[in-house]
Symmetry: C2
Subunit: 250 residues, 2 copies
Amino acid sequence: MSIDVVFIPQSLVPGDLAGRTVVVVDILRATTTIAVALANGAKAVLPAGTTEEAMRIAQNLERDAVILAGERKSERIQGFALGNSPAEFSPDAVGGKTIVMSTTNGTAAFATTQGAREVIACAAVNFSAVVERCRAALAEHGDLVILCAGSERRFALEDAFAAGRLIKVLLPEGGAKGVTINDAAVASLELARHFGERWGRALKASVHGRELVELGFRADLDACAAQDTHPVLPLYADRRITAYRPANEG
Amino acid sequence: MSIDVVFIPQSLVPGDLAGRTVVVVDILRATTTIAVALANGAKAVLPAGTTEEAMRIAQNLERDAVILAGERKSERIQGFALGNSPAEFSPDAVGGKTIVMSTTNGTAAFATTQGAREVIACAAVNFSAVVERCRAALAEHGDLVILCAGSERRFALEDAFAAGRLIKVLLPEGGAKGVTINDAAVASLELARHFGERWGRALKASVHGRELVELGFRADLDACAAQDTHPVLPLYADRRITAYRPANEG
């Protein structure tokens, strides 16, 4: 069994993710917002690299069915309906809609996962749903990659902490024995041990978390730190993120 | 006072290091080997990105005064006199020589430091000499960047551990209060706390450390883990790394 962590997408070389189960983490705030949107009834979230790409994608969709969302320097992109605060993605705002979304780090991370077997969006708000899916993937394929979005090419503490939490839960009782983990996974586990089970502690310790508080987004931090409030499994495939629904639910 | 850690040179954007004091860490093995070479009497080490660049640089130097050194996939570059094992860089081998050196990660890291105020090569073998210089730089300028070479674009545990050791020693008695440290520095400190004072523990836990043991370089790991065996301060400027000698030593 092997679990790898990648701290920034820029560390990837082509083929690194081919055929693997990939968990994308951008806890402040893209993967949190995506999980909230899908749990609140959005049909799909379509990640876009640039503002222009987002507008181009939206033009090909029915005007009433699409919402443009995203941020630059943490603030809503001018002219877009929604920013990147989970609270904006309420059932009223997003129910039945397709959201085209462009954020600084998170949406670009999804674009690097081409060739992966399955791509899961992970946040605290949907943590247990992700854990369950990862357990199944490890049991079946013995392999998992956690891809942190990072912060503008740099290591992001909050994503590494989330990766560590996930690994800690997934490791067998006895710890990492018999499991191959890479250097970034070792460091992530140490952060999970240090910050413990309280997501908020790690989020508030991170540079980006402190920036968000300074910009007036303190409520977002609390929303991003709340575990299992939105139990949904967002899967990325064919450039769309949709909520997984077991076949027997129709 | 601020201390930043950069886990891989690929995280840097132009200007990140401008005017700053930079500590380059590639403990397995480039910065260790560089310190050993200079302590053993080498005149200078000239980092080269590629094998071809190394040969081009060497051609412009006196044949008897120059040694080509370096590795690819941890093994000596074909046709080069030395590889990247500290033990090869004995006083007999390197005394009075200029070494042109190309390694997979370490020598490229130096090339990214253009515009820095001062660039220091750090290893365990010269740790206290580096600490002393960093203390002076922090007292004077209040700012320090530790640049880890990483491992082929990826996070390397041994370099992050070294960064954490360095920060731990440099922080005031009371810890990080009043000192701004970035997310990577927080994670590095956790690794320093986890692995403690024994360099060998972290080196042997790292993916690259285990690879070196498998390739028969176990003795290199021991050499790289030995603190202060080669008390020299290697400074990089004008594409050359030389040992700092205080003015009053002539």
